[in-house]
Symmetry: C2
Subunit: 189 residues, 2 copies
């Protein structure tokens, strides 16, 4: 009985998050209210409040899920081998996730609560990437690993951001340069 109830509650929560994502994508952070999210999820506002105390709680859960997905997708892959190609072709796991994170980042510049969630999300991603890179390249010092992850994070965020404007150079030429940068980063220091 309990597990059936839990499954139904989980499904309802999923619906609300999906509806919130559509609202934020279509109308932006401020234009999407709790009542709009309820309407989009085909629920009453009262029902929504049974699952989430407020809009902030929905946003927190939405960010958490995006980061969980990104970490899960990193797992078990030799990141530094794939990285030059992924950067050069401006690869993304999900355009929708990227757009939502951009929306949240714009909001974070005026909303300390959203900024705190983004900082937490970034720290989780960062530490996870450090653990993976250290395992892949045990000869690197922990300090060097953190530097590498920071520079790779900068390049990934920058590439995702630049997907908004047309690519101006050939991905092949870019891939060679990114390969050189990654090689340099993981050389023993």
């Amino acid at each position: 009985m309990t597990s059936k109830l839990e499954a139904r509650q989980k499904a309802r929560q999923d619906d609300i998050i999906a509806a919130a994502r559509r609202c934020f994508r279509n109308s932006g952070f401020h234009a999407a209210s709790m009542s709009q999210i309820a309407a989009e999820a085909k629920l009453s506002v009262g029902q929504i409040y049974r699952y989430f105390a407020n809009k902030d709680a929905i946003i927190e859960e939405m960010i958490r899920r995006i980061i969980d997905y990104r970490i899960a997708e990193m797992e078990g892959k030799t990141q530094t081998k794939l990285m030059p190609h992924l950067l050069a072709c401006r690869f993304t796991l999900s355009e929708d996730d990227d757009a939502l994170m951009l929306e949240m980042s714009a909001e974070a510049t005026r909303n300390p609560q959203v900024a705190a969630w983004l900082a937490e999300a970034d720290e989780r991603m960062f530490n996870n990437a450090c653990t993976m890179l250290q395992k892949e390249h045990p000869h690197l010092s922990p300090e060097r690993v953190r530097c590498c992850v920071e520079v790779i994070a900068v390049m990934m965020e920058g590439s995702i951001y630049r997907r908004l404007t047309p690519q101006k150079v050939s991905p092949e030429a870019l891939e060679k340069i990114y390969q050189e940068i990654i090689n340099m980063l993981i050389t023993a220091k």
Copy 2:
């Protein structure tokens, strides 16, 4: 007489742009309406329309000015010398400009008109940076110059984006790595 009128019109236009910037920063793109901008500029809505046909025209002018300022600040500086330090300390010309560009980027994911202005702005910045880098390093092929500018742009955008979360490694260690990357980029190819 004409120049006096022009000066007054220019001052009025400046006031409107400044008011629009404050509105977008405080309430986000969608929450800021023409009547809000008018109120913030202490003008009537009718007066605003004498200077800008609509909110889009204000946004276009706002983006144009941000890019003009960035290009003017690049002018006459040996970019590749300064770059490692600027990247490592996550330097920005203006936090307000960055936040507004982030707001515009989030909007660009659903608004093709804003996306087109950002693409135009990026192209102007990109071509300007290419001209400067080519002058600074005449031995580089034009194709190599474009690749360098793209990678530098990725690192700059990524660094600005990551200013939203706490820095996790020492700027000194980062600066050395960025220096190696820049040296590699401008080595004759």
